[in-house]
Symmetry: C2
Subunit: 283 residues, 2 copies
């Protein structure tokens, strides 16, 4: 899963540095692992599953490189190291991010190769829906603009859907589309992406407000725990985890190979939930 | 050719503004026209030809939005209007550019749909070669870094190949690949993209040095007329135009439908050449 980019020998040094640096801290790769698991459970070949998984990870990597730029979050560090734009310059970070976008498409194209023409068309439509102007780009724009317009729980959820759910749909729903899975399976995977994506984002919001160096409040960032209150944010997480639980059970009944990886992620989210605050029932 | 993007109704206002503004000044669309002409000459359907043409234009549009950003050229105006990042903010301009990238892929995917699997694979490889880290991204990185490393005519030509030739290869070579044209035709179109792309870029360099407000000299930009001298730059243009002339003749003999659009672009380049300085023969 790690060979996202070829080591170009004659690439301009700062651009090559930004790419190599980013590749050296790959993160936990849980989106890629989910994509691989769904693809294999839906009977895609191992090379196709790997192409989908690396494609998802490439787009995720591009999105965090863009997010960290001065015009967006202006972040200083990522995964314990200086951000690419701080170490290699803004232009190099931006061009590296585009390199990951193009790599993502190349991997996806490869994974779609053997699919039926209508499945390929549906897959391409989902990719643009998730990554284009109605998807992650709208989420990032709303994130940057937050505070200049509507400040409401609904707008915070819109940002979370745009930024977190879109990438999870590529990990969960896209492999099923490419494999020509039944509509019921695809819809459940889309709903699961929504539930997990929102739960994950709101857990991140809750965790951020407990940190002494948390900056969301100071910078007026979209954070459900700040905009709706901690109790409402915790209730939303719990509702999404309950929704996810039912979807995992239904999907595991149809595709037993999904049980282990899905339960693993459920445990991970439950652990984050417990770390943030005791669930309402136990309080 | 103008409906590059859907008018998203609920897209974040600054992002929507940057997209709408960019679409309102579409430029001369000569790359799109070339792509359409080659696609039709190679017997692709009209919808497929249009998809390739709009895809090429979308990627070209994305590249100029990125080029104009503060971290790159920091341009003030484009096509007679304030640049997108000046009018709508840097984040919106960046996200709009990404919207054009994703739109470009959606159009290309559509055009590749009916092609044979090996042609689709070759097409996808060319797209990443031209747009990825070995293509336009390397050209843009070298453009930004110019002056910090090697300052030579060879490096200036490398930048021009990266920035201008790559997009022309998508306009000229890609439609032929998608159509499954013979290798000879594809190779001539690739060579023509090289000749025209270099001629066009060096003509731009020559023109820039004659303008009183030309900034290439002051900013140390890669400009062949400055690095190699005007005479050498003019000689290079003439050599590329001679090379292009022979390729146009050979291609028009095989695909007569290409004669008219190719001769039209040849005249345009000859006009630019005459405006810059009298050809060496007449001096």
């Amino acid at each position: 899963v790690r060979d996202l980019l070829p080591r170009g020998e004659r690439i301009e040094p700062r651009l090559a540095g930004a790419v190599a640096d980013t590749l050296s801290t790959p993160g936990s790769l849980w989106r890629a692992q989910l994509a691989f698991a769904v693809a294999r459970a839906c009977a895609l070949s191992e090379p196709d599953a790997e192409a989908l998984a690396t494609g998802v990870e490439a787009f995720h990597t591009a999105s965090i490189l863009f997010d960290d730029l001065p015009s967006m979050d202006d972040a200083a560090t990522r995964r314990g190291r200086p951000c690419a734009h701080r170490a290699h310059g803004e232009a190099a970070a931006q061009l590296a991010a585009l390199g990951f976008v193009h790599r993502g498409y190349a991997r996806f194209w490869r994974a779609f190769e053997a699919a039926a023409v209508l499945d390929r068309r549906a897959a391409a439509a989902l990719v643009e829906e998730c990554l284009g102007l109605t998807g992650i780009l709208d989420g990032q724009a709303r994130d940057v603009a937050f505070g200049t317009g509507e400040v409401s729980p609904a707008e915070v959820v819109r940002v979370a859907r745009g930024k977190s759910v879109t990438l999870l749909r590529l990990a969960l729903e896209l492999p099923a589309i490419v494999a020509g899975a039944p509509a019921e399976v695809r819809e459940r995977l889309a709903a699961l992406a929504d539930a997990w994506g929102l739960a994950y984002q709101v857990l991140d919001d809750l965790e951020e407000t407990t940190r002494p160096d948390g900056t969301d409040a100071r910078l007026g960032r979209p954070n459900l725990a700040l905009v709706a209150g901690r109790a409402a944010a915790e209730a939303r997480v719990d509702a999404e985890l309950v929704r996810a639980h039912a979807l995992v059970a239904a999907l595991a009944a149809t595709l037993p190979a999904l049980r282990a990886p899905f339960v693993r992620l459920s445990f991970r989210l439950a652990g984050l939930r417990a770390a943030v605050a005791p669930p309402a029932g136990r309080a």
